[in-house]
């Protein structure tokens, strides 16, 4: 994936209110835009993480199924 495709996604997240951004200066003295999670974003992240873990756990259980379990 190209790095540039990140920017429309960042804008979308900002519109959704999960991240906020502001201009600042980077460690090597460059002008840079800093993105940070908002409270809503943090909550969203938690939900998404939980969902993802749940999905991953379910899929993992599929892989752990052995032939004799189904018999």
């Amino acid at each position: 994936m190209n790095q540039g495709t990140l920017y429309p996604l960042l804008l979308k997240l900002e519109h959704e209110g999960t991240i906020a951004s502001k201009w600042g200066t980077s460690e090597n003295n460059r002008k840079a835009r800093f993105y940070s999670l908002t409270a809503a974003g943090r909550k969203q992240l938690q939900t998404e993480t939980r969902d993802w873990e749940q999905t991953a756990a379910i899929i993992a259980r599929f892989f752990n199924v052995k032939g004799e379990d189904l018999a």
């Binding site: 190209n2 790095q3 540039g4 495709t5 920017y7 429309p8 804008l11 979308k12 519109h15 959704e16 209110g17 980077s26 090597n28 460059r30 002008k31 840079a32 835009r33």
Partner: protein, 907 residues
């Protein structure tokens, strides 16, 4: 939630046009610079570092587009762009834009104007809560051919107790003399049952109305007045409640004031503008004792139980009628077939103008249709000239749907601009236009041009724009790309389809305008016939002025109770009126005697039975009566045919005499062989309805028929009684002569009030005005339809002109070749003209078929002309054809004058 939030952010971005583009670009530049720095640090050369960074980042323009799509609403943005483009296109061809917008403004404006009238009258005829529950109850005796015979008090009570209705009320319109204020006034009033306002469901703004279950037999001592009267006569006195007013010399107290917005229901505008309501049980003085057979010629209105449909209510009412007939066989003889009929109140109020308004709406709808077709035609013509543009855009990859969307935006812009323009003109000219609306239209005062009407105008123009913009847009984008690009936008498949559609549209236009012109022609002929009709009386230089004598509830207090008492007043006023300078003749009659000037309420039909003829049933054939003074006939120029007119020796003490018109002689004295017998000297029994006792009158004379009752009908039987033998309360004084119509009312008022200062004097009108206002609805619809027809004809002429000139343009090369090969110029002219004539012939053929249907439907609006009147149909067809040929002649001449050399060189 999130979607909504994003939508609103996008919407605000769109609205504020805050561009995040700059920010993105800066961010991307920083990003790249950072990446390059890193690459250089990793040991790359500067150019290589830049290249690798750009590859890693991706196509920056595509990202910017994505970013833009994310932050805004592409659909609306496209629409904005399309609109901007459409505006530019319109500015580029101002002539086209002006014609199209003006056409639509005309069509939508006219449609909206008629709609605003219909909205107030047909769609919202009853300004009361739950109007669908309101009904009018009509009693009929179809067995003896009598309709709307009225209702008796026991019958009213049966209805009130039937459980079908919430409330039932009688209502009777009249006028009362209000005295005590500076100038005695005659005010429009209604005598009603105490439940009247409960039927209508309207509460007073101040005070109260009556208890709906009040059972007082006579008049209740309290009255309700209108907001208008409160302000006019009492200066909006806040302490009016409980104060007394004197009406016809009886004293009442004011119990309530209706809201300013309240309009009464009723058939005439006088009735709807009633100013005072008095309640009575109609079971005691001044009414006769309640008997089942004593019917009052009053109107009965009622409010149905909630949720009961009129049909179901009619079913229950029929059952009630059947059981009453069984219970009281003597009062309801089987042969007269007493029935009660329910009609939704809304229908009874607008019945007489409904047909005219629907006709007008149909006519104006056709104008709108023709206008839209014309604009569609113009759009099609432009489609040919924009063929190349469309081809280029499609070749460059524009999707067809996208192009159609853009073209549709353009046509919608035209239509909506036209619609708004039409509405704006209407809004500015509303005062001016309302003058042309006849005064007797119900709810005239409620016609308003507001948001509802604006919404209607916009909906109509959007609908028309979509319907008539879609086909041209579709045909414009349907192109054979290679052929179009090579041939510079000429020829090709789409072009043939377009010209076929253009022909269909022009034929449709011609057909529609023929229909309108036939309708207008028939109305014009009806109106003209009515206008030119032999009146049978002479209205010129005659002025009528009304007064009314008090009618107190107790006859003993009435100073004008007998004809002899009244004669003193009448003779004195007549004598004084004759002394007014310029007055040549004077007369007096009751209100029913005013030719064409009285409303339905004043028409008094009473049974008349010639002596020696058998009573066929309990109901007698009825005749219109008028009470007049001896000079009346001469003043109005009515022709005596047989016998004598009234004379000075006819007094209250002498036998009652009467004069009838020819129609009455024919109807009531048909003779044994049907040739008629001389009614002079015969006696007849008059009256016997309601509380009046029948009386015997001797026919002393016959006069020629005159159209005093209805312009359209000369043969309405009429009987005249002598005012010195039979007193009348509502009087009209007439003066004929060289008088100033603006000064005379005051002069007559002075004369009348110098005899009795308590008498109100009002409504002075010349008979010519009365005559002309009796034609007002007809004149209004005739003028409107004629105007619409003329517009339609003009539009159709423009349409055919446009089509033929376009055809000539398109075929100029062919024509030039023909000319170069030796074709004769007149042949070219004929060829083009024939094309126009063919279109006109097909259009006229279809239009004639449509006109037959329409004229059949409007037969009820015609007078003296058959709906299939040959001369009208033929004349209109000839006019249409002539206009079509004239419109084709201009481009045909251009074709004839074509110079082959320049034309062929130019290609």
């Amino acid at each position: 939630m999130k979607l909504l939030r994003r939508f609103f952010i996008r919407l605000t971005n769109l609205a504020t046009r805050r561009s995040a583009d700059q920010r993105l670009r800066e961010e991307m530049t920083e990003h790249l610079a950072f990446q390059i720095e890193e690459n250089v640090r990793a040991g790359m050369s500067l150019t290589e570092a830049q290249r690798q960074a750009a590859i890693k980042f991706g196509a920056s323009e595509a990202i910017r587009e994505h970013h833009h799509a994310e932050q805004s609403l592409p659909l609306i943005e496209n629409l904005m762009i399309d609109l901007q483009f459409a505006f530019r296109m319109l500015r580029k061809s101002p002539g086209f834009a002006f014609v199209a917008i003006a056409t639509m403004a005309l069509g939508v404006g006219a449609t909206t104007a008629i709609y605003s009238v219909i909205d107030a009258t047909l769609l919202h005829p009853l300004p009361y809560p739950h109007p669908s529950e309101l009904v009018r109850i009509e009693a009929n005796l179809p067995g003896v051919g009598a309709h709307d015979v009225g209702i008796s008090i026991p019958e009213l009570r049966d209805l009130q107790n039937s459980g079908i209705f919430q409330y039932v009320s009688l209502s009777f319109y009249g006028t009362n003399n209000l005295t005590g204020s500076a100038q005695p006034a005659s005010i429009a009033s209604k005598s009603v049952s105490p439940s009247y306002f409960w039927v209508l469901g309207v509460d007073p703004q101040l005070g109260r109305t009556w208890d709906p279950h009040d059972a007082t037999p006579g008049f209740l001592p309290e009255v309700v007045i209108s907001d208008g009267l409160w302000k006019r006569a009492f200066g909006a006195d806040p302490h009016i409640l409980g104060k007394s007013v004197r009406l016809d010399n009886d004293v009442y107290t004011v119990a309530g004031i209706m809201p300013a917005s309240f309009r009464d229901q009723g058939q005439t505008s006088d009735e709807r503008n009633a100013d005072l309501w008095a309640a009575a049980g109609f079971a005691g003085d001044p009414a006769p004792p309640p008997m089942r057979g004593t019917r009052f010629p009053f109107e009965t209105i009622a409010r149905l139980q909630p949720g009961l449909s009129p049909e179901a209510a009619q079913g229950r009412l029929d059952a009630l009628v059947a059981s009453l007939k069984k219970q009281y066989p003597a009062d309801y003889p089987a042969q007269s077939v007493w029935t009660l009929h329910l009609t939704p109140l809304a229908e009874t109020l607008v019945g007489n103008v409904r047909q005219s308004l629907i006709l007008l709406f149909g006519a104006v709808g056709l104008v709108l249709l023709i206008g839209s077709v014309n604009v569609a035609n113009l759009l099609l013509a432009r489609a040919s000239s924009r063929g190349r543009e469309m081809a280029v855009r499609q070749a460059l990859g524009a999707a067809k749907t996208r192009l159609i969307r853009q073209l549709l935006t353009e046509s919608l812009l035209l239509f909506v601009l036209g619609g708004i323009g039409g509405f704006a003109v209407l809004f500015c000219a509303r005062k001016f236009l309302l003058q042309f609306v006849p005064e007797n239209l119900p709810r005239l005062n409620d016609i308003s041009i507001g948001w509802g009407v604006l919404a209607f105008a916009i909906v109509v123009s959007v609908a028309a724009g979509t319907i008539f913009g879609l086909a041209p847009a579709w045909l414009t984008t349907r192109l054979n790309l290679t052929a179009t690009l090579r041939q510079e936008g000429r020829g090709g498949n789409g072009s043939r389809q377009r010209s076929r559609l253009r022909h269909v549209l022009v034929i449709g236009e011609l057909a529609l305008s023929l229909v309108l012109m036939v309708a207008a022609g028939l109305l014009l002929r009806s109106f003209w016939d009515l206008f030119k009709v032999q009146l049978g009386f002479n209205p010129t230089r005659v002025l009528s002025i009304e007064t009314s004598l008090p009618n107190p509830n107790d006859p003993k207090t009435d100073i004008y109770h007998t004809a002899t008492q009244e004669a003193v007043l009448l003779r004195e006023v007549l004598r004084r009126n004759r002394t007014i300078p310029g007055v040549e003749e004077t007369a007096v009659s009751d209100r029913a005697g005013i030719p064409l000037g009285h409303s339905q309420n004043d028409r008094r039909a009473v049974p008349l039975l010639p002596e020696g003829q058998e009573v066929k049933s309990s109901q007698l054939p009825q005749i219109d009566t008028a009470i007049v003074s001896p000079e009346y006939f001469h003043l109005l120029g009515m022709t005596p045919l047989r016998g004598r007119l009234f004379a000075d020796q006819d007094l209250e003490a002498t036998p009652r005499v009467a004069v009838i018109n020819q129609a009455a002689a024919r109807t009531y004295w048909p003779g044994k062989d049907g040739n008629g017998e001389d009614p002079v000297g015969k006696r007849a029994r008059l009256g016997g309805l309601g509380r009046q006792r029948p009386e015997w009158v001797t026919i002393v004379g016959v006069i020629a028929d005159a159209r005093t009752e209805s312009l359209a009908d000369a043969g309405i039987p009429q009987i005249y009684l002598d005012i010195y033998q039979r007193p009348a309360k509502f009087l009209a004084f007439y003066v004929r002569g060289q008088v100033d119509p603006s000064a005379i009312p005051a002069q007559v008022r002075t004369q009348i009030q110098s005899v009795d200062a308590e008498l109100p004097v009002f409504r002075a009108e010349t008979l010519d005005d009365v005559l002309s206002s009796s034609l007002s609805v007809r004149r209004f619809s005739m003028e409107m339809v004629a105007l619409f027809a003329a517009t339609a004809l003009l539009l159709a002429a423009l349409g055919i002109y446009g089509t033929i000139s376009f055809l000539v343009n398109e075929q100029s090369r062919e024509i030039a070749i023909r000319l170069a090969l030796g074709a004769q110029r007149p042949d070219i002219l004929r060829r083009v003209l024939r094309h126009g004539l063919n279109l006109a012939a097909v259009g006229a053929g279809i239009g004639l078929a449509g006109a037959f249907i329409v004229s059949h439907l409007m037969a009820g609006l015609l007078y003296g002309v058959s709906p299939y009147d040959l001369s009208t149909f033929a004349g209109v067809t000839v006019v249409l054809t002539a206009v079509a040929i004239a419109a084709s002649y201009v481009p045909a001449r251009r074709a004839m004058r074509l110079d082959p050399i320049t034309t062929l060189h130019a290609e």
